[in-house]
Amino acid sequence: MNYGPRPWVQQHWDLRAAANFTCGGAGAGLIAWTAAMALAGTSAAAGVPALLLAGLALVGIGLGCVALELGRPLRALNVFRNPRTSWMSREAIAATLLVAVTLVLAWGAGTAAAPAAATLAVVLALAFVWCQGRMLHAARGIPAWRSSATPALMAATALTEGAGLWWLTAPWHGQGTRAALAGFGVLIVLRLIAWLAHRRSVAAHRRVAAALAPAGVSLGALGTLAPLALIVVAAMLGDGAWGLALAALAGALAFGAGAAFKLALILRGSFNQGFAVERMPVRGTRA
């Protein structure tokens, strides 16, 4: 281990923690998008419960991976003790409420309570992904995470990944409208803006910027330009099989590139800032 002024990649959070941000974010995004589409009347009612449960499963996988990282998993309930200042506590609370509301929504899809539950699910999913972004932002030891652009990036990425998964499964669950396709495109653009802001904020940390560059290029090309082009073509083709297939491909690309970027952010871009000696000691006699 190099202990010195040169930053090194943190070793405390590994793939298990990264899985929470990747799976949890995408799952919450899927729940938010599915609930929003259900509210808008876009989503075929038959597919809603399955999509919601798939989103919950992803959130559960993420939280399960975190549990594997805990040194003392039997004390996991202590995670709820500090909502006053800790975004991890807030994330846990948001996740708990999200699970409960999403189950209610999945169970009662199509009932009179569904709109209220769907609204609440959207709010809680947004809260969950926001907490994830703020969790990273609060880690003052890691320049790539503590950037002020991180929360927006994490939220935009999670929502885009969730929408991507929704479109990936569109051939199975029904048809999205052109408005929904346009909404997906807007999310992709918002994620691009958030990524550009984040890239600018970490540019001064050259090793961080270099470590994130490949995933950033992938996010820009495969996760943004290609899906946007596919969305345009899919919109022109209309509701047919080809249109849905292209939208599904756009969803897959948007999801994959976003997930890969988040993994890179947690695992490869997470340099600390080493030890800084602002002034070297002045020893001996001076002229």
Binding site: Y3, R75, S86, M135, A138, A139, G141, F275, M280
Partner: protein
């Protein structure tokens, strides 16, 4: 009020690692865990290279990021500035470790010993299972401080009330005392020397100060040895 503070004189530290060894001895930390460590830093490029030995560890910050992020309230800050960990509350999530800009926190997933799987006699006696799989860090030897204060002693002056690393320092590069007391050894050292705190821009307010040059404008300051002798009534 009291604000316990550590001062490291970079001009005096010779990198002997005696403080590191004293810390391990006092706190029985396992292999690979060094609550106090001394960095050997080379800065610059040939031929303009400088070298410094820099003691580091938990900075016991005014605004500790580790405490803010801790989801369990295991990490707390006392009124005297010492940041503590309740090992019985900690879940070992390592969030504090990534939040700390000073790489001061450790987590050992399993009990480990110096000579393989079996503990040596001293390790068997001093191994604390409560510290396995949770976050640990420098405590400023808080037990010694509390015991000493209760006995009417002055931390930083009386060895029994002073952190082990400070007691062990062969060159008196490390000093410990109350920053809120203008007559304390650390206050006088800071008043008479130019100093900085690490990663000051992050706003954590570290309780660890580094002296790097004398402050001629301050009119000079006695050596730490003399300050301690004065406080003990020996000078």
């Amino acid at each position: 009020m009291t604000r316990w503070t550590m001062v490291a004189d970079l001009r005096r530290c010779v990198g002997c690692q005696t403080c590191t060894a004293a810390c391990k001895h006092a706190n029985a930390t396992p292999p690979g865990v060094q609550w106090r460590r001394v960095l050997d830093l080379e800065v610059g490029e040939y031929p303009d290279v400088q070298r410094a030995f820099v003691p580091v560890g938990c900075q016991h910050c005014d605004d500790p990021p580790c405490m803010t992020v801790c989801p369990t309230t295991a990490t707390r800050k006392r009124a005297d500035g010492i940041v503590t960990i309740d090992y019985d509350l900690c879940i070992g999530c390592s969030y504090c470790a990534v939040a700390c800009p000073y790489q001061a926190r450790y987590k050992t997933d399993h009990a480990s010993f110096a000579y393989g799987g079996a503990p040596a006699a001293n390790e068997r006696q001093r191994h604390d299972p409560a510290r396995v799989a949770v976050a640990t860090k420098c405590t400023f030897c808080v037990e010694r401080i509390d015991r000493g204060v209760a006995a009417g002693q002055t931390p930083g002056v009386d060895p029994d009330a002073t952190p082990a690393c400070v007691n062990a320092c062969i060159s008196q590069a490390l000093a410990f005392g109350d920053l809120d007391d203008p007559a304390s050894n650390v206050s006088r050292l800071l008043a008479g020397n130019r100093h900085f705190r690490m990663h000051e821009a992050l706003g954590t307010g570290p309780g660890f100060h580094y002296l790097w040059d004398r402050d001629d404008a301050a009119g000079g300051v006695p050596a730490l040895q003399q300050l301690v002798a004065e406080a003990q009534g020996l000078a």
